[in-house]
């Protein structure tokens, strides 16, 4: 089974051909947005981090930013820094170059002499990159080149009954075809960790699964907080999810049934094919951003309550098992999994349909979040700004 993608000079394969205008920090984010308004076909992200962060937080931010630039859906990047930030433009440039040899230009607002002169140069670079990117033709690649992220947000009981099991079936199919499926959202493993541990390919991987959960719980305890305050959310509860365990047991269906072959940190690229786990927050926007930084080309996202979310770099394919959400938010939904709840179709049948949809998206079919122009971004953090 094949798909049509873009070959990158670093050997990876993208399914989109973006030119990314990337801010090193919050202070250059608006400038990047202004550049993308000037050059059609470029994308930007709003980055709230990159400065006034403790060392470990800064490292997370830098890895995410460099990971986004290295994501195979990106043809090339214009990096814009302020000059005095913690995520120094030279360091960011070097970090991106350590991950990829794709086209990269760098500008520093304080060196260029302000907003308009920075924008002028950035627009020139972006115009050239857009033109060069447009010359790259799609070629056929085996589906094993795909890295697919799975995430849920605004869950309700239909997520665990229909949408997540269908994604789990997709995940099994992808793994059987040699692709990589990333399960994430560590806080939503709580109460279901024993099931994931049984699914681990080795005892060491089972221990890693317990470790990332304990680390998360300890982290929140250390700052005097509890998961209980935010999870399940008011929307989860209104929809009928009562406890975190219940939410988690529904959530982990997205992983399917194949062995878990790797567990790795936020925004890190998987090194193995198969079902893998990235340690991400349950906060969907930050989780999706981390998956994009980890090199996934496409995200399959389930929702019960409904969300319009999308990512600048990866198509976020949204689906729901809630029939009324599908009907009322059709403009935001790419797939209706509710036939499973009505026993009109099986999870297996819908998994096969979903695989065809994901391949269509890989081949270039635009998802709703792309058509509507969503570029939600959040970078995970350990603690407060300094």
């Amino acid at each position: 089974m094949n798909f049509l993608g873009y070959r990158r000079p670093d050997g990876k394969v993208g399914i989109r051909n973006h030119v990314l205008i990337l801010p090193t920090c919050a202070c250059s984010s608006e400038t990047c947005r202004m550049v993308t308004m000037q050059v059609q076909g470029t994308i930007n992200i709003i980055n709230q981090n990159g400065c006034a962060q403790v060392e470990d937080d800064l490292e997370i931010t830098k890895q995410v930013l460099a990971g986004l630039a290295a994501n195979p859906n990106v043809y090339g990047t214009v990096l814009i820094g302020l000059g005095c930030e913690n995520a120094q433009p030279n360091d960011m440039e070097a970090l991106i170059r350590s991950k990829t040899n794709k086209p990269l230009k760098k500008l520093v607002i304080q060196e260029e002499g302000g907003t308009t002169s920075t924008i002028k140069k950035a627009v020139e670079y972006a115009l050239q990159m857009i033109e060069d990117a447009s010359r790259v033709k799609r070629e056929e690649f085996p589906i094993s080149e795909l890295i697919v992220g799975t995430n849920c947000g605004g869950s309700d009981p239909t997520s665990g009954l229909a949408a997540n099991p269908v994604v789990g079936n997709l995940s099994d199919r992808l793994v059987d075809l040699g692709s990589t499926s990333i399960l994430c959202e560590t806080t939503e493993f709580i109460g279901a960790e024993h099931i994931l541990a049984k699914q681990a390919a080795t005892p060491e991987i089972a221990q890693q699964i317990y470790h990332i959960i304990e680390r998360y719980e300890d982290h929140l305890t250390n700052v005097g907080q509890s998961l209980r305050n935010g999870n399940p959310t008011p929307g989860n509860k209104a929809g009928g999810i009562t406890t975190l365990e219940e939410k988690s047991l529904g959530c982990i269906h997205k992983g399917g049934h194949r062995p878990i072959v790797e567990v790795f940190d936020y925004a890190v690229c998987p090194t193995k094919k198969g079902l893998v786990i990235m340690d991400t927050p349950g906060y969907d926007i930050a989780s999706v951003t981390g998956i994009a930084a980890g090199g996934a080309q496409v995200m399959v996202f389930t929702t019960g309550r409904g969300t319009p979310t999308g990512n600048a770099i990866m198509p976020v394919f949204k689906m729901t098992g809630n029939q009324s959400t599908y009907e009322s938010m059709k403009e935001n939904m790419d797939f209706d999994a509710s036939p499973v709840i009505r026993s009109e179709k099986t999870v297996e049948e819908m998994g096969a349909e979903l695989l065809q949809e994901v391949i269509a998206v890989a081949n270039g079919k635009i998802v709703k979040a792309e058509a509507l122009g969503y570029s939600d971004t959040a970078i995970s953090r350990l603690c407060n700004y300094v």
């Binding site: 209980r228 929809g239 009928g240 009562t242 365990e245 219940e246 809630n322 709840i341």
Partner: protein, 97 residues
């Protein structure tokens, strides 16, 4: 005449099932358990996709969905009652480290 299933149980052993249409008090929940349709009277209004108790449970008993524990009962619950935050509490969330 076949009766329309309006409630789903995920694992046969589960203590709660999910109603797939809003069930007003007094209505029958029809749920297939081990291939046989069981009927439970909803003793109170149950919103769509919320949980209905499959059998009587004592206070402090673990509640099962997906064949796994999703918490414990705060009070005793009778079959047909709405099971949610008012009578079910997480075990994991409340662990004091």
């Amino acid at each position: 005449m076949t009766e329309k299933i309006n409630t789903i149980i995920i694992k046969n052993m589960d203590s709660v099932a999910v109603v797939i249409e809003a069930l007003p008090a007094g209505c029958l929940a029809l749920v297939k358990v081990n291939g046989e349709v069981r009927k439970i009277i909803a003793t109170e209004d149950i919103p769509i996709y919320h949980k209905i108790a499959m059998f009587d449970m004592a206070a402090g008993q673990e509640v099962y969905k997906y064949g796994e524990s999703i918490g414990r009962t705060l009070v005793s619950i009778t079959a047909g009652q709405h099971v949610h935050s008012h009578n079910l509490v997480s075990i994991r969330e409340t662990i004091a480290k």
